[in-house]
Symmetry: C2
Subunit: 193 residues, 2 copies
């Protein structure tokens, strides 16, 4: 038992990694704890040792990503102008979407996941703040609709890799597309790394 507990972090992470793959392949609703156990090569009881429900596992999968989104939103809100706030939100979101392609598609596309998240987290409020940061560039429904296109479109485009392209170039093109869609000017004197 002591050995089992000391091994826990690794096997926990192993379940999370397999869950990400199965969720993206079969959707959240289409993936059972049994499938995850089969894929890892353990019994269902071994999965239950770490996660009581499929929802627990999904929470463990998505928690770091949601935390990162929250940080970006908060840092964006601390910027001094409407355009600086939108620019910060846009580039942070692009970075996150490109780095976490598979996870972001699970988060954004799967209605089962979204329903679960909305009921357990304050995701609705977080999404509203993301939308507002981008929408404020243009008044009225036009701004909100552009923001929604940009947020959905970036995740969708990053998820389905349509071209063989360097990750940094992909980010740059996504940010530029987002700026154009929002009617946001490129910030002056951008620092290149």
């Amino acid at each position: 038992m002591v050995t089992e507990v000391s091994k826990a972090p690794d096997s926990r992470q192993r379940f999370i990694d397999v869950a990400v793959r199965l969720f993206t392949q079969h959707s959240f609703a289409g993936t059972s704890l049994q499938m995850i156990a089969d894929e890892v090569g353990v019994t269902k009881a071994a999965v239950y040792h770490h996660f009581r429900t499929r929802e627990d596992l999904l929470n463990a999968v998505l928690a770091p990503l949601l935390e990162r989104i929250r940080t970006i939103v908060e840092e964006a809100e601390a910027q001094r102008s409407v355009s600086a706030r939108a620019e910060y939100m846009l580039s942070g979101y692009v970075d996150l979407a490109v780095r976490n392609r598979d996870l972001m598609s699970v988060l954004a596309a799967d209605t089962g996941v979204i329903d679960m998240l909305r009921s357990q987290h304050d995701l609705g409020e977080l999404v509203d703040r993301q939308v507002k940061l981008l929408a404020d560039v243009s008044p009225g429904p036009a701004g909100i609709i552009s923001a929604a296109v940009v947020l959905s479109g970036i995740v969708g485009a990053a998820g389905k890799l349509l071209v063989v392209i360097d990750e940094e170039d992909l980010k740059e093109h996504l940010v530029q597309t987002g700026r154009r869609a929002l009617g946001l000017r490129a910030p002056r004197a951008p620092k290149s790394a």
Copy 2:
């Protein structure tokens, strides 16, 4: 038996309507023929009378939509300039996305559905043609990435209604966002209906 067959078209459509609702609620992978039977209030055998597999039912659900997309792509390809082709594709796609919000989210967001469609239809080729019609506005990866953002973003934004807005206004804002994202000028002398 004769009576049953003569009633077929109606009950067939009833199954399709329920399937659309359950697919959008629970994803394709998360919806069984048994769930559809339960929701309609019939036995599973009654569903089997019309659809042998869940895939058959999904095909029946999506066939009219795919046919419409194919028509838009073909008509867009027949336009005379790069910008006219992109404009036709963009406005046709926006119209389709707004009219078929639920179905389009099933089609676009559910990886299980996409895998199934890719194996049974020539959807990959159709998507490539859609992307090309929009991507040709800008050279290289920039054009392809903008096209991907626009196609994903329109479906995503139309699917999650973020504002109370008239359907025609929503379409207009989506088209304008798409034009900006693609770097496409509004066509001259637009006819208003």
